[in-house]
C-alpha cells in the first residue's frame, strides 16, 4: 500500500519535474523514486496480511514479492532510456510518469482482493502502455502498434468486465474469498452456467494481457512496432503482474473442485497451444525483436504450467515456481531488449545478421546477450534454468508428466532460436553495416553487467530466493 501511495505521489512529482526541461535530472530522479519505493515495499515483509479500503487490497508476502519483481525490473530497465536523455526527448517526464503510473496498476494487480481492483489495476497498467506503445509519434509502425494494442486490449478488457459482471450476478460479491465461498455453496443452482461463463471470460481477459494463445495475435506486431524500451517493459512487468493476478484469481476465487474441473482443462489447452505457437513461431523469425516477441509468448506457456500445477495456495512449489520464473525471465528479457536497443540504434537493423561480429566490436554486449539467451533457453548456470526447473518439478509433483514432457520438447526447440543470435555474434564475421563499434555509455554497461550478474547469481545460488513464498 505504501508503495502505491508513494509511486502515485512521486509519479506526479516527476511530471512537474518535467517543467524544468532538464532530462539529465529526470533519469536519476526516476531511478531514485523506484529505488525508494522498492525499499519501502519490503518494510511490510513477513508482517502478515494487511488489508486496505475495506479489504479491496491485501498486502501479504505474495504481493510484496511480486511487487518487488516489477519494481526491480523497472529499476533495471530505466538505464536504457538514456537514449531519450541524449536525444533531448521533449516528453521524457511524461514517459517516466506513465511508467510509474502503470507500475501502480501492476501493484494493484498483485495485491487485489476485490474484482474492482483487478479491473482498475489492469486498466491503469494498460492505458499507460497504449500511450507508450505509440510514443514514437512519427513512426508509422509505432502508431500501428498503439492502435492494434488499444483496439484489441479494449476489447479484451470488455470481455474481462463482462465476465466479472456475470460472476457478480451469480455470486453477489466481488470479494475473492466470498466468491470462493459462493462457488462451493451455491444458493441457486440455475446460476451455475452464468458463473462459469463469467469465469471463463475472465480467463480470456487476463489471458490476453499475458499474451497466452489463442489470444496472442497482437503480440508480435505490437512488440515490433513499440519502441524497444517500452517493449521490454511490456513483456516483463505486464506479464509478471498478469500472472500474479491470474494465480491469485484461481487460488482465491475459484479453488473449488467444480470450478477447477472447468478451468484446468481450459488452461491446459491454452498452455499447450501457447508453447507450440510461441516456440514454433519464434523459429521462423529473422528479426531478433520479433523472435523475442514470440519467445515472450512461449514463456507465457511455461508460466501457465505453473498455474496448472495448482496446489490451492499462494505459497509452496507452484507459487514459488512462478515467482522464480518471472524474476529470472524479467531480468534476462530486460538484458536482451537492452542490448537489442543499443545495437538497433547504432546499426539501424533488428535482424540476426545485424548482430554479426558483435563479439569483436562490443564483447560486453555480446556477453550479456549470450547470458540472456542462455537464461531464456533454460541452460544451467543461469536463472532461467532454475525457473524452468521449479515450474516443471511442481508440475511433475502434481502428476502433469505429459505436459512437462511436451514443455521439455518445446524448450529443446527453443534452443535453436536462442542460439542463433549467439552464433551471429560469435561465429559470423562483420560486414560493412556491422563493422562499427556500438556506442555504449559506461552507465549502460554497468546496468548490463549487473543484469548478467543477477542472472548468473540466480543460476548459481537459487536458494537465495527460491523458497521465500
Amino acid at each position: 500500500m505504501n508503495s502505491i501511495i508513494l509511486l502515485s505521489v512521486l509519479g506526479l512529482g516527476n511530471l512537474f519535474l518535467g517543467f524544468r526541461r532538464s532530462n539529465r535530472l529526470l533519469l536519476p530522479a526516476a531511478m531514485l523514486i523506484l529505488g525508494l519505493v522498492l525499499t519501502v515495499n519490503f518494510i511490510d515483509w513477513n508482517q502478515g496480511p494487511q488489508s486496505f479500503f475495506n479489504d479491496m487490497l491485501v498486502v501479504d508476502n505474495f504481493s510484496i514479492a511480486f511487487t518487488g519483481i516489477v519494481l526491480l525490473t523497472a529499476l533495471l530497465l530505466i538505464p536504457f532510456s538514456e537514449k531519450y536523455v541524449l536525444d533531448g526527448e521533449a516528453s521524457l517526464a511524461e514517459y517516466y510518469s506513465l511508467l510509474l503510473f502503470s507500475l501502480v496498476g501492476a501493484i494493484m494487480l498483485v495485491s487485489y482482493n476485490h474484482l474492482l481492483m483487478l479491473f482498475l489495476g489492469i486498466e491503469t497498467l494498460s492505458i499507460a502502455m497504449y500511450v507508450l506503445a505509440g510514443s514514437d509519434k512519427r513512426n508509422l509502425r509505432s502508431n500501428e502498434a498503439a492502435l492494434k494494442y488499444f483496439l484489441m486490449g479494449a476489447f479484451a478488457t470488455g470481455i474481462l468486465l463482462f465476465g466479472m459482471a456475470l460472476v457478480y450476478g451469480a455470486t453477489g460479491t466481488f470479494v475473492l474469498r466470498d466468491i470462493s465461498f459462493a462457488v462451493q455453496n451455491p444458493v441457486n443452482d440455475s446460476l451455475r452456467p452464468m458463473l462459469y461463463i463469467g469465469m471463463l471470460m475472465m480467463l480470456i481477459g487476463i489471458g490476453f494481457k499475458v499474451s497466452a494463445a489463442p489470444f496472442h495475435f497482437w503480440t508480435p506486431d505490437v512488440y515490433e512496432g513499440t519502441p524497444t524500451f517500452f517493449t521490454a517493459f511490456m513483456s516483463t512487468v505486464v506479464k509478471t503482474a498478469g500472472f500474479a493476478a491470474f494465480l491469485k484469481l484461481l487460488v482465491q476465487a475459484f479453488p473449488a473442485a467444480s470450478a477447477q474441473g472447468l478451468w484446468l482443462p481450459t488452461l491446459t489447452a491454452m498452455c499447450v497451444l501457447t508453447l507450440l505457437i510461441g516456440n514454433v513461431g519464434a523459429v521462423a523469425q529473422t528479426s531478433l525483436k520479433r523472435m523475442l516477441a514470440y519467445s515472450s509468448v512461449s514463456h507465457a506457456g511455461y508460466l501457465l504450467i505453473g498455474l496448472v500445477a495448482f496446489n490451492g495456495q499462494l505459497e509452496g512449489a507452484s507459487a514459488n515456481g512462478i515467482f522464480f520464473y518471472s524474476l529470472a525471465y524479467s531480468i534476462a528479457t530486460v538484458a536482451a531488449f537492452g542490448v537489442l536497443q543499443l545495437v538497433a540504434n547504432a546499426r539501424m537493423r533488428e535482424d540476426y545478421n545485424g548482430l554479426n561480429g558483435l563479439a569483436k566490436t562490443n564483447p560486453l554486449l555480446a556477453f550479456v546477450l549470450t547470458i540472456a539467451m542462455l537464461s531464456l533457453a533454460g541452460i544451467p548456470l543461469t536463472g532461467g534454468f532454475f525457473g524452468k526447473f521449479f515450474v516443471f518439478s511442481a508440475a511433475v509433483e502434481n502428476g502433469y508428466i505429459g505436459l512437462v514432457v511436451f514443455a521439455v520438447v518445446m524448450s529443446m526447440v527453443s534452443i535453436y532460436y536462442y542460439l542463433r543470435p549467439i552464433i551471429a555474434m560469435y561465429m559470423h564475421d562483420t560486414d560493412e553495416t556491422t563493422a562499427a563499434l556500438v556506442p555504449v555509455s559506461s552507465f549502460q554497461s554497468g546496468a548490463l553487467l549487473l543484469l548478467a550478474l543477477l542472472t548468473v547469481v540466480l543460476g548459481v545460488l537459487p536458494g537465495l530466493v527460491s523458497g521465500i513464498l
Partner: protein, 489 residues
C-alpha cells in the same frame, strides 16, 4: 574442503585472467592450471585408497527443495580429477603454439571448463551433477565455435543440440527419481537428491527399464556410443586442437564416469535388462569406428574415429558387469586421455608446420624430424595397446571382462586390436615414412618446449604400462562398491 578448493580455484583464476590481455595471459593461465594440478596431487597423496568418499563437503544449496551442494571424492573420482588436472596444463601449453585471437578469453574458458569437469567427477547430488554437466558444456561450445574451423557454426550447433537434448532426458530421469526419494534429515523438504538415496530406491523393474534410457541418453551422446556419435567426428575435426583435446581427453570420460556412478547403481535391473543391447551397440561402435578410420584421409578425423572405436571397448567393459571390465575401463580412461591428447598434439604440430592434415599430402617426416617420429610412435603404440604401454593394461582387462561375460562378444571386440594396428600403422607409414612431399620438404623437428610437453605424456605411457597398480589400486574399492550395488540387487 580440498574438493571445494579444486572446484573454485579454476573458476576464480578464469575470472582473474581478465586482467591480462593477449599473450600476457599465458603464464598466469598455465600457473593456475599447475596450482590445480598440485592441489590434485596433494589430494592423491593424502588419499587413503578405500571406497569411502573423502574430502567431502555437504552444504544446503536449495534447502527448500532438499538439494545439497555435496561434493566428495572416492578412488574413481580422484583418478579422473587427477587426469583432468594433469591434462589441462598440457592442453594450455599446446594452445600457446597457436596465436589465437583473444587469448586470455580462450584460456579463461579452458579453466572455467576445468571447474565443470572436476564438478562432474566429484558431485554427490544428482542436480549438482547435472549442473556441472552443463557447466562443462558451455565453455567447450564457445571454444569450438569461436576458434574453430570454417564450418564451425553448423558443426558446433549440432554438437550443442545433441548433448543438451541428451542431458535434458537425464534431467527428466533425475526429477522422476527425486520424487521417489524420502524427506531430508532436517525435514525442510519432502524429497532429496542425494546420490546414496538414489542408490537405495529399489524401484520396480518395469520402471527401471524405461528410466535407464532417460539417464543413459545423456551419457550415450557424450561418450559417444554408436548410433549417437554423428556429432563427434565433425566436432573433433572442426574444433581447434586444444578444444579437441579437451573433448576427447577429458569430456568423453564424463559419459563413462556417469555410467559407472549414476546409471548402473541407480537402475541396476534396468541396466541388466538392456545389458546385451548396449554391449552389441558398443561392439558395433568398436568395429564401425575402426573400419571408417581405415578409410580416413584427414589425420584428425582418423584419430576421432579411432577414439570412437576405443570408447566402444570401454563401454563394453563396463556393461560386462565384471570387476576386470570396470577396472579396465577406469584405467583405460586415464590411458586413453594421455594417448589421445598426445596424438592430437602431434597432428596439430604437423598441421602447423605443413598447413595440411591430409595423409596423401604428407610423407617422409622421419628424416627431418626423428624426435617427433619417436614420440609419435610411442603414443601410437600405446593406442594400439602394445604390451608395456598403457593401452595394453586397459584393453587387456576390458577384453578379459567382456570375454568373461560372453566369449563371442569378447572375440569380436578383440578385433579392435588388430584393426587399430591396421589404421594407425598405415597412417604412420604414410605420414612418417616414404618419400617427401612438397608439403614436408622443409619440415622442422620438435622444439624444446614441444618436447617438454610430450615428455610427461610419454612417461605416463610407460608408467601406466609398467606399474598399472599405481592407479588400479586407487579405483579398486570404489569399483567393487559399484559392482556390489549392481550385482547384489
Amino acid at each position: 574442503m580440498l574438493t571445494v578448493l579444486l572446484l573454485l580455484w579454476p573458476v576464480a583464476a578464469a575470472l582473474l585472467l581478465h586482467f591480462f590481455k593477449g599473450r600476457a595471459a599465458r603464464i598466469p593461465a598455465l600457473g593456475a592450471a599447475l596450482v590445480e594440478f598440485a592441489l590434485a596431487a596433494y589430494a592423491a597423496i593424502s588419499f587413503s585408497a578405500d571406497a569411502t568418499g573423502q574430502f567431502s563437503l555437504n552444504l544446503p544449496w536449495i534447502s527448500s527443495a532438499g538439494i545439497n551442494f555435496h561434493v566428495g571424492m572416492d578412488g574413481l573420482s580422484l583418478s579422473l580429477v587427477l587426469l583432468t588436472a594433469f591434462l589441462v596444463p598440457i592442453i594450455l601449453l599446446s594452445a600457446f603454439r597457436r596465436n589465437f585471437e583473444n587469448e586470455s578469453v580462450f584460456y579463461a574458458l579452458v579453466l572455467f571448463m576445468e571447474t565443470g569437469l572436476v564438478g562432474v567427477f566429484t558431485a554427490q547430488d544428482a542436480f549438482l551433477f547435472y549442473f556441472f554437466w552443463e557447466v562443462a558444456l558451455i565453455p567447450i561450445y564457445f571454444l569450438a565455435g569461436v576458434w574453430g574451423g570454417a564450418n564451425r557454426a553448423k558443426v558446433t550447433f549440432k554438437f550443442f543440440l545433441y548433448t543438451i537434448v541428451g542431458s535434458l532426458f537425464m534431467l527428466a530421469g533425475f526429477v522422476y527419481l527425486y520424487f521417489q526419494t524420502g524427506p531430508t534429515a532436517n525435514g525442510l523438504s519432502a524429497h532429496n537428491s542425494e546420490l546414496l538415496s538414489f542408490y537405495n530406491l529399489n524401484l520396480p523393474i518395469a520402471t527401471q527399464v524405461w528410466l535407464f534410457w532417460l539417464i543413459f541418453a545423456a551419457f550415450a551422446v557424450k561418450m559417444p556410443i554408436f548410433p549417437f556419435h554423428t556429432w563427434q567426428p565433425d566436432t573433433y575435426t572442426e574444433a581447434p586442437a586444444p578444444a579437441t583435446m579437451l573433448l576427447s581427453g577429458i569430456m568423453l570420460k564424463m559419459g563413462i564416469y556417469g555410467c559407472l556412478r549414476w546409471l548402473l547403481p541407480v537402475v541396476p535391473q534396468g541396466t541388466a535388462y538392456w545389458q546385451n543391447l548396449v554391449l552389441i551397440l558398443a561392439i558395433i561402435g568398436i568395429i564401425y569406428g575402426a573400419i571408417i578410420a581405415i578409410r580416413q584421409q584427414d589425420v584428425k578425423r582418423l584419430i576421432a574415429y579411432s577414439s570412437l572405436s576405443h570408447v566402444g571397448l570401454m563401454i563394453a567393459g563396463i556393461f560386462s558387469f565384471t570387476e576386470m571390465g570396470m577396472q579396465g575401463a577406469s584405467i583405460q580412461m586415464l590411458a586413453h586421455g594421455v594417448n589421445v591428447v598426445g596424438m592430437f598434439f602431434i597432428a596439430d604440430a604437423i598441421e602447423r608446420r605443413t598447413g595440411t592434415r591430409q595423409i596423401d599430402d604428407l610423407g617422409g617426416l622421419t628424416r627431418q624430424a626423428p624426435v617427433l617420429t619417436v614420440c609419435f610412435l610411442v603414443l601410437l603404440l600405446g593406442t594400439v595397446a602394445l604390451p608395456l604401454t598403457n593401452g595394453f593394461v586397459g584393453e587387456f582387462l576390458l577384453l578379459a571382462g567382456v570375454y568373461k561375460y560372453n566369449a563371442w562378444m569378447g572375440a569380436v571386440a578383440g578385433i579392435t586390436i588388430i584393426l587399430s594396428a591396421v589404421y594407425l600403422l598405415r597412417m604412420f607409414q604414410r605420414v612418417m615414412l616414404g618419400p617427401d612431399s612438397s608439403f614436408t620438404a622443409t619440415f622442422t623437428d620438435l622444439t624444446g618446449s614441444e618436447l617438454a610437453l610430450l615428455v610427461p605424456l610419454i612417461v605416463l605411457v610407460f608408467w601406466i604400462g609398467l606399474f598399472p597398480n599405481t592407479f588400479l589400486h586407487l579405483s579398486k574399492d570404489s569399483v567393487l562398491n559399484i559392482l556390489n550395488e549392481v550385482v547384489i540387487r
